[in-house]
């Protein structure tokens, strides 16, 4: 019980990051039925670009308040990622919208590899540290501690998710997105500019990814050109867990996966009598993914789909 609360806090923080990235996957899948493999790399780009800005500012103007520097990093990273998402959709996915299923999937893998390696060529293979510009305070709650960074991530993530829900439920664009996700054909017959909706979906998802990327690098204190791969895979698992195509599902799935990983890593030593250690942490997401897809492919909140003959 001693580590329970701590793991809970850690899990929720991690989970909210997963949720933000999972939202991007689920939105694209809902409309295009495509797994955007490159999404994890966009998160990575968000982290790398923002770190480049933050690192530069921290060096050049050490007197500036940390929040401002962070804001500047975000202000650059978000548009860059949005542009990337737009570019990828336009160049790599749109031409293949009517190709056999395998094609966009393979292209997505290709784009993912390209982004990874471009990052590697630009920033090198070493870990890039996140400068200590943020308040480092920790607070004690019932025997567990929570840091300022963790609080910030939680708060920001919740705000963003609320904002997204507002956009999807209350705005014209949101309505168009929901219609397109239901049926592209009918939506376009109803006057929806499907191409614009799809582009917007990628843009919004990429923006979320950028923020998530910054959060991850702030939380772990570093960024690396390879960080997107695993993160993306886990976020995708989260989206599937919650029910792919379902926004609430992505959020729920993200939080759950964060908790599963956190508790799993914390307790696995005890559970397996020391045979497996916490370095098996990454495996949890995969097991969750496989279990969900095999036993309940529609996820927790998704609807059952029957293939009609």
């Amino acid at each position: 019980m001693d580590i329970f609360l701590q793991q809970l806090i850690n899990g929720l923080v991690l989970g909210s990051v997963y949720a933000l990235v999972a939202l991007g996957y689920t939105m694209v899948y809902g409309i295009l039925e495509l797994i955007n493999f490159a999404h994890g790399e966009i998160t990575m780009m968000g982290a790398m670009v923002s770190l480049a800005v933050i690192g530069a500012l921290a060096l050049a103007a050490p007197g500036l308040p940390g929040v401002l520097i962070l804001g500047a990093g975000l202000a650059v990273a978000i548009p860059v990622c949005m542009a990337l998402g737009l570019l990828i959709e336009r160049v790599a996915y749109r031409p293949l919208r009517h190709a056999p299923r395998l094609a966009p999937l393979i292209t997505a893998i290709g784009v993912s590899i390209i982004l990874q390696n471009i990052a590697m060529l630009i920033w090198g293979k070493q870990y890039i540290p996140f400068p200590a510009i943020l308040p480092q305070g920790r607070h004690e709650i019932l025997g567990a501690s929570i840091s300022d960074t963790q609080i910030a991530i939680l708060v920001l993530a919740v705000l963003i998710m609320l904002a997204l829900i507002l956009v999807v439920q209350k705005t014209r664009l949101g309505r168009a997105m929901r219609a397109t996700a239901q049926s592209r054909q009918v939506a376009s017959l109803m006057g929806v500019d499907v191409n614009r909706v799809i582009a917007s979906t990628f843009v919004i998802g990429s923006a979320l990814a950028a923020v998530a990327g910054v959060m991850v690098s702030a939380y772990y204190g570093l960024a690396h050109y390879y960080m997107g791969f695993l993160l993306g895979l886990k976020a995708f698992s989260a989206a599937v867990l919650g029910g792919i195509g379902n926004l609430g599902g992505a959020m729920l799935g993200g939080l759950l996966l964060g908790l599963i990983e956190s508790f799993g890593a914390g307790y696995i030593g005890d559970l397996t009598g020391g045979f497996l250690g916490s370095h098996y942490q990454d495996v949890f997401a995969f097991f969750v993914l496989i279990a969900v897809l095999v036993f309940r492919p529609q996820g927790l909140l998704g609807a059952r789909v029957v293939e009609r003959a």
């Binding site: 039925e33 495509l34 797994i35 790599a92 031409p95 293949l96 009517h98 190709a99 056999p100 299923r101 395998l102 094609a103 966009p104 999937l105 393979i106 292209t107 893998i109 290709g110 784009v111 993912s112 590899i113 390209i114 990874q116 390696n117 471009i118 590697m120 060529l121 791969f229 895979l233 995708f236 599937v240 020391g274 045979f275 497996l276 250690g277 370095h279 098996y280 990454d282 495996v283 995969f286 097991f287 993914l289 496989i290 897809l293 095999v294 492919p297 293939e307 003959a309």
Partner: protein, 357 residues
């Protein structure tokens, strides 16, 4: 009128085969003389990848099951070989026992990993198999405590080379005054096995089983309604692909003498997929071409390092780093502009052409 029978049709065919056989037999020597010993080694590696690509071709190309974790079978074959022919467990069984054993175990693993995926559709299948591949790599990396099974990230080395009695493939041998080095002999062994794999693939492609696989790929529901036991046939595809993968893995272990989990990561799976996508999915000549291209071309890239040095005085871009970037670009480019591959089968070209129009 002359009654000399016209052999014109049969002759060129046999001539071509004869020349090809001769060429293949002499190849290692030609390469050695022209490009150096390291290129012969590369040739051996290329043959391994041809085997792997053909194996994956059965799963992806014929049956249409996108397996992104194929490297797991490669790894299994390699580790089985390492466990049974190295100081790690102190076992030194002969290669003609371990190779088939490793291949068979890999095949069984193929059935094991394939079973949960049977009801999954395209993208989900890809992700789940990717997950399996990663899980296996993580386990290989960590199963060194409490019991040391895989020796973790350090891997297993001092693996026995292929040996027949006192005749070892790692030593040079003299025949008729000609020196056959280890890599030359390995070439012939690999070539033989690769030809066997090609042969088996060809026979399967044009058989009841091959047609059933393609039917499943085309329309699984219609295939089932036409009497095909889709479950068994999908598992068979996984098993056959895995068997070839395991065979290649065992050969790899004996060839390199050292294996570690690093060699069996996701990028390997993706690379092998690249080979069949670029070459021509489901089409044996295309797959062979893709495998050869993607193994040999990166080596050519190494020379760009020298060119850069000569032109600019220093290396701006390490060619090794460029390798994966170019792979990614090639994948995207091929999917956009030549999705049926460089040497597509006639029908595949048709399929993609129609989708575009």
């Amino acid at each position: 009128m002359s009654s000399v029978p016209s052999l014109n049709k049969a002759q060129p065919r046999w001539l071509v085969f004869g020349l090809l056989a001769l060429g293949l037999a002499l190849l290692p020597f030609l390469v050695d003389a022209g490009l150096g010993r390291s290129w012969v080694r590369l040739l051996d590696l290329a043959l391994l990848y041809v085997m792997l690509a053909l194996g994956l071709n059965i799963v992806v190309g014929y049956a249409g099951l996108l397996d992104l974790g194929y490297v797991a079978f490669y790894a299994l074959g390699a580790y089985v070989y390492a466990w049974l022919a190295s100081p790690h467990f102190g076992l030194h069984l002969p290669f003609w026992v371990i190779l088939p054993l490793g291949a068979m175990l890999a095949g069984m693993f193929g059935v094991l990993l394939g079973t949960p995926t049977l009801r999954l559709r395209g993208d989900y299948l890809a992700i789940v198999t990717l997950g399996f591949g990663e899980i296996i790599r993580i386990f290989l990396n960590n199963l060194n405590a409490p019991v040391n099974i895989t020796n973790g990230p350090q891997g297993i080395n001092l693996i026995d080379p292929v040996r027949l009695g006192s005749f070892s493939l790692s030593q040079p041998h003299e025949v008729f005054g000609y020196t056959f080095t280890g890599v030359h002999l390995t070439y012939y062994l690999f070539l033989l096995l690769t030809l066997a794999v090609i042969f088996i693939s060809m026979r399967l492609e044009n058989s009841r089983i091959g047609r059933a696989w393609v039917a499943i790929r085309e329309d699984e529901i219609a295939a089932a309604a036409t009497g095909i036991n889709t479950r068994n046939l999908k598992l068979l595809a996984f098993a056959m692909g895995a068997t070839f993968g395991g065979l290649a893995g065992g050969l790899f272990a004996s060839f390199q003498g050292f294996i570690s989990p690093e060699s069996f990561n996701l990028m390997e799976s993706i690379m092998i997929l690249c080979m069949i996508v670029l070459g021509g999915m489901g089409h044996i000549p295309g797959v062979i071409f893709g495998a050869l291209l993607l193994t040999l071309l990166p080596e050519v890239l190494r020379y760009t390092g020298d060119w850069q040095r000569n032109l600019f005085g220093q290396i701006y871009v390490d060619p090794a780093d460029l390798r994966m970037l170019l792979f990614g670009l090639a994948l995207v480019a091929v999917m956009l502009y030549r999705p049926a591959g460089m040497i597509p089968s006639a029908r595949r070209r048709q399929e993609f052409a129609d989708a575009k129009g």
